[in-house]
Each structure stands twice: as structure tokens, then as C-alpha cells.
């Protein structure tokens, strides 16, 4: 049975999760007086209340956008971690527009999100351009850009957008016309979720059913081959960076308009690495990214609930997450059994 690749993958995934959970349980045994309750809260609590399940979806939205933005870059074999800075900076762009008065509550968020997206795209073009034209290492430029965008963003907030009624770094309250409506009552799931679904579908079709997607995939698999085939890496890199930045920008905007009342991130939101995590867990596939984001959101929501309802310290949440990620992403976990099964069966196909 293990000889079948698909079945093997499923069994492997299941076993990896199981092992990770066993390890988690052992950790809980050590830190908690009520490990069983903590464990079951972590695993099942998101399913116990509609609102909790809503939390999973709410959290999944920004993770997915960051993941999609990163996955597109990784697909083109661009190791760029700039989603972090773009998320932050586009939040400020969002604040600049969302705090303006505007009469139309349908157009206001749309315009805000679009402009944020374009701003994100344009920012991403900076490392993109240097990569495309001069082969400048995009890991370095994107990491540096994150910190530069952070400082620049703070500056803009302070001199142009700072709310006077608050003592911290914050913009004025967003206009109510700019906020995204809640689409599922009883939760805070907002219309951004619909935008996410649309983006995933568009991205899927773009990647697997258009010429652009084809050239992105070929370039990612083999840049020499793409060049030889007549694809223009320069424009392709620019396009990919723009789209990625755009996704980051609208993701940021959607998160703020859906979940916040004002811009008040005083540090980078930390979505750059989470985005990379989602992208890689989802194998850089749009649908995979969303599934990964869902899984991680589910885990984080469950762990949050566990941490606030039991004596388990919040730090355990990340520790558990790290363990689970490590095991799930193991390619060779149980590979031995797979190979043994293959030999027993005498191979599945002829050379």
C-alpha cells in the first residue's frame, strides 16, 4: 500500500502530524497541571464555537496574502523576504486614504485597497528592478528594504498622519466608509475573505493557465531554459515583483480595513517570515498556501485559546508550531518504508 506515491504522501503527512502532536503532548505534560484539557482545547476548541472558527478564518486572511505574495516570488526562484516591509508600509498608505472623508462606502475600501496594492507593487519593483537588471541579491536588498521601509513609514506617520488624541504611533481612526463589512454575522470574517478567495482563484489560473504563468513557472524551474525559449527574464521579474508587492499591499490594506480601526503597528508585523513559511508549506501553490494558512491559523487559534484558558504559558504556542512545521515538512520522513514497499512490489513502472 505504501508503494503508491499518493497514499504514501497521505500516510506520511498523517504520521508526521501524529508524531508532532505526541511531542506536543509530552511538552504539555511537563508544563501543565491539566495537560489533557490543554491538549484537547488546543486541538478542538476552534470547532467548539462559531466565533472561534471565525477567528481561524480571520487570522488566515493576512497569512494567506503574505503567503501568496511570497509563493509567487519563490516560484520564480526569487528569494525575496520583502513582504514584511511591504505589509507595513502599505498599511500606512491605507491609513492615508482610509482616514480621508469619502461619501461612498463601496468605493472607499476598493480605492484604498487598490492604491495600497499599487503602492506595494511599486515598492517591490525596487529590489525587483535591481535583481532583473543587475542580478543584485534580492535576499539582501529585501531584508534591508524591510528596515528602511519601517523607518520611512514611521516618519510619514509622525509628520503627516499621527493622531493627536492618542499617545502612541497611530493614525486617526479610519472613516467608517472605508471599513470592510462583516460578511458572516457572529464572527469578524469580513469581505476581505471573499477577496482572498478571488485572488487565489485568479492566481491559480494565472499560474497554470496563462502564458504569463507558464513563463513564471518555466523561469522558476530553469532560468536558462526560459531564456533560451525566448522569455524575457527582465520583464518577467518586474512583473512577478509587482504582482507579489500588489498582493502584499492589498493583503495589508484588507487586514487593516477588516480588523483594525486605525493604523497602529509600531513594529514590523512579522508577516515576512510567516509568509515564507506559508509559501513553503503550501509548496508555492496558491491553493496549497491557503491550506497551509488555514492549518497554521487553526493551530494558532487553538493554541491561543489553550494558553488563555489553562496554565500553559503562551510561549508554548510557538514552540509547538515550530515542532509541527519541522515534522510536516520532512521529505524523507518514513521514506524508508516507502522504498521497502516499492522493492517488495518490484517497482511500479518500467524504465
Amino acid at each position: 500500500m505504501l508503494a503508491n506515491e499518493k497514499i504514501f504522501q497521505a500516510v506520511k503527512m498523517f504520521a508526521a502530524v501524529l508524531l508532532a502532536l505526541v511531542l506536543t503532548f509530552i511538552v504539555l505534560l511537563m508544563v501543565s497541571d491539566e495537560p489533557l484539557r490543554a491538549f484537547s482545547l488546543m486541538l478542538f476548541s476552534p470547532l467548539t464555537k462559531f466565533r472561534y472558527f471565525g477567528n481561524v478564518i480571520e487570522l488566515m486572511i493576512p497569512l494567506s496574502f503574505a503567503g501568496l505574495a511570497t509563493a509567487l516570488l519563490f516560484r520564480t526562484r526569487l528569494f525575496n523576504l520583502g513582504t514584511e516591509g511591504i505589509f507595513y508600509f502599505c498599511g500606512i498608505v491605507t491609513a492615508a486614504i482610509a482616514t480621508q472623508t469619502f461619501s461612498n462606502s463601496t468605493l472607499h475600501p476598493i480605492i484604498t485597497i487598490l492604491i495600497s496594492g499599487i503602492a506595494g507593487g511599486l515598492i517591490a519593483l525596487i529590489p525587483g528592478f535591481f535583481r532583473a537588471k543587475f542580478k543584485t541579491d534580492e535576499l539582501v536588498t529585501s531584508l534591508m528594504m524591510n528596515s528602511i521601509l519601517y523607518g520611512l513609514g514611521l516618519y510619514i506617520i509622525k509628520y503627516y498622519l499621527q493622531a493627536t488624541d492618542v499617545s502612541g504611533v497611530a493614525s486617526n481612526l479610519f472613516q467608517l466608509t472605508a471599513k470592510l463589512p462583516i460578511i458572516i454575522p457572529g464572527t469578524r470574517i469580513h469581505s476581505g475573505f471573499a477577496v482572498l478567495i478571488v485572488c487565489v482563484i485568479l492566481l491559480y489560473y494565472m499560474l497554470f493557465h496563462t502564458k504569463l504563468g507558464y513563463s513564471i513557472r518555466m523561469t522558476g524551474l530553469n532560468g536558462d531554459f526560459a531564456k533560451y525559449s525566448g522569455m524575457n527574464a527582465f520583464w518577467l521579474f518586474l512583473t512577478v515583483h509587482f504582482i507579489s508587492g500588489f498582493l502584499g499591499g492589498i493583503g495589508s490594506s484588507i487586514e487593516l480595513l477588516g480588523m483594525y480601526n486605525r493604523f497602529q503597528w509600531s513594529t514590523l508585523p512579522g508577516l515576512g517570515f510567516t509568509g515564507a513559511l506559508m509559501a513553503m508549506l503550501g509548496k508555492n501553490h496558491p491553493v496549497g498556501v491557503v491550506i497551509a494558512a488555514f492549518a497554521i491559523s487553526y493551530l494558532r487559534t487553538g493554541s491561543d485559546i489553550m494558553a488563555r484558558s489553562t496554565d500553559v504559558p503562551v510561549e508554548i504556542v510557538s514552540i509547538v508550531e515550530a515542532v509541527i512545521v519541522l515534522f510536516i515538512s520532512s521529505q524523507y520522513f518514513l521514506r524508508k518504508y516507502h522504498e521497502r514497499a516499492l522493492i517488495k512490489q518490484g517497482g511500479s513502472e518500467r524504465a
Binding site: 499617545s167 484558558s309 503562551v314
Partner: protein, 341 residues
Amino acid sequence: APKKEPEATVKVALLIPFRGDQSYFDVVANGMKLVTEQIEGSETTIIEMGTDQSKWENFYLDACEGDYDVIIGGNWEATPTFEKVIAQFPDKKFINFDNSAAPTNANTYVMFYKANELGYLTGLVAGLVTKTNLEYSDDTANIIGAIGGMNFGGINDFLYGYIQGAQAVNPDVKIIVGYAGSFSDAAKGKELALNMYAAGADIVFHAAGGTGNGLFDAAVEAQHYALGVDADQALLFAADPAKQKMILTSGTKNVDLAILQAVERFMDGTLPYNTIEVLGIKENGVALAENAIYNALPASIRDVVAAYKAKVVSGEIVVKDALTLTAEQWDAILAAAAPTN
């Protein structure tokens, strides 16, 4: 397994982003400790919500749905979320431990602390110490320093008070202000402090959370004085008297005491809901840590500090605040206070 314990007299939940900054949030958290220690049979829970603000509402909702008698939360960042949730639970009682605006809900009591007065107190000490020849200060250069975590109103309020306090007792004093751009980079804090000492400051204050911890290392290294913030930070170095003696005092924000008192008043039924109470020097909302190190200072210094403190309490001196200043106004204030070449 559920534990069988006698029914608690009062169940209190406190929601904060995190603990462990060794200043502000730890003082807040200490409020729960005081409650547990001083109110018999009380049961307290500290819930750390994390820094992802989009999740805070979940935490508040869960706390409200729990069986707590009082839920303490807020501060300026979380207040909008807090109040949104409060509106859904008219039968519960809430304490906002730190916010500058009056509550929008009838069942909420809000406290606010005058950070500018805290800064004023430390400024008095700094202004006096720098013109005195103490073991680690000298009267040659009339320069003092202050490190801010980031440049925004809440932090500048401390610094503005500090500037006013120093200038009140030492009109010619020059104040170097530097921002670290982070509340968690102690190494950066140390670098800024060393630069300040190198530029002639012999006493430096900070309002920079974890970044400020680096200040104390710098003080030991440069052999000059430092001033703590929010909590009595000399306690950090209880194990190391050589370091401890560099931290002359700290401007404390007594959120813990305030929380304890509020919970006591809740139990008495005397807590004024739908009200904001502003706690300054007069209300003991902010104070100087008058520990052994401080008390070892020359009486001449301590007497002057006490005198100015009394003037603030009496209302004779009004410390201006930085909350409503524009960025440009603030830049001008800093430029005026800074040493010239």
C-alpha cells in the same frame, strides 16, 4: 481536572499584550500580584494577548464570557477594542488601567497617569545631580541625557517632563535626547547611552522599555549615573551592588498600586464608573523611587526635589504635557534644549 477550592471573594482578569519588559507591563502585571497578596481569597489571572492586535478582540470576548467579576484591560492601544467588547456586556464591570480619554461605557472606570510629571521628577534629580560633584557626576559639563524608545507623544510626555524638571532647577542645563527606534534592543540602548556619556552627559534617563536596560550597563561602563522608569529599576541589579548604585532612582508609574486600589474600591462598591481619574504626583500615580540609593544622595538635592514636588502637588507649578504637540513643535522643543556646538 477541576479543582475544588472555596469560592473566591473576587475574580479578576488582567489583559495585556505581554509581560517581561521589566518596566511598564511588568508594573501592570505586578498589580495582580498585589491583589492576590492583599485581598484575601482573591483569584487573579493575567492573560497575555500577544502583539497581533487583530486578535485582541478574541481575548477580550473570551474574558468577558468567563466568570470574572472585574476585567482589567486597556491602555491606549487596546482601548478601542476593549470598549467595543465592553459594550456587549452591560452586566460586567471593567477597569481601564491606562487611557487618556474618558470611558464611553457606563460600567467602566478609567485611570490615567501623568507621565510628564514622572519625567518632571526625574528631571529634577538629573538637573541637580549634573551640577553637583558626586562620585560619578561633575559640575564641569552641564549636560544630561534621555533615551526615548520611539518618537511619539506617549514617550515624549516623559521626556518633556524631564526637560522641564531639569530646567526648573538648572536653567542652563542642556539635554541630549536620542531615540532607539525600538523598545527591545538593549544593545542599541547601550550604544546611545555611551554616546551621551561621551558627549558630556553624566546622568541619563530613559523611556524606552527593554531598550533602556542597556542604559544601566552603559552607566556602569562609563561610570556615570542613570535613571530608571516605570518601576524601581535598581531592583533589576539587586544581585550586583556595583551596578545598582549607578541607578540613582527611577520615576515610577504606580499602575500596580492604582490597580490594587481600584479593585479594593470595586469590592467596597465605591468605584466611580463612567469616570476617568487622572493620577499624577499628587495622587501618587507617579513618584520617585525613594530607595536606599536615592536616600544616600546629599540632602541638599533631595530637599530641592521635595520642594518642587510640593509645588506641583499644590498646583503652583503645572507641568506641560507633550500629548497634544505636533511633530514640528516637539522638534523645536528638542532643538532648544539640545547642547550647541
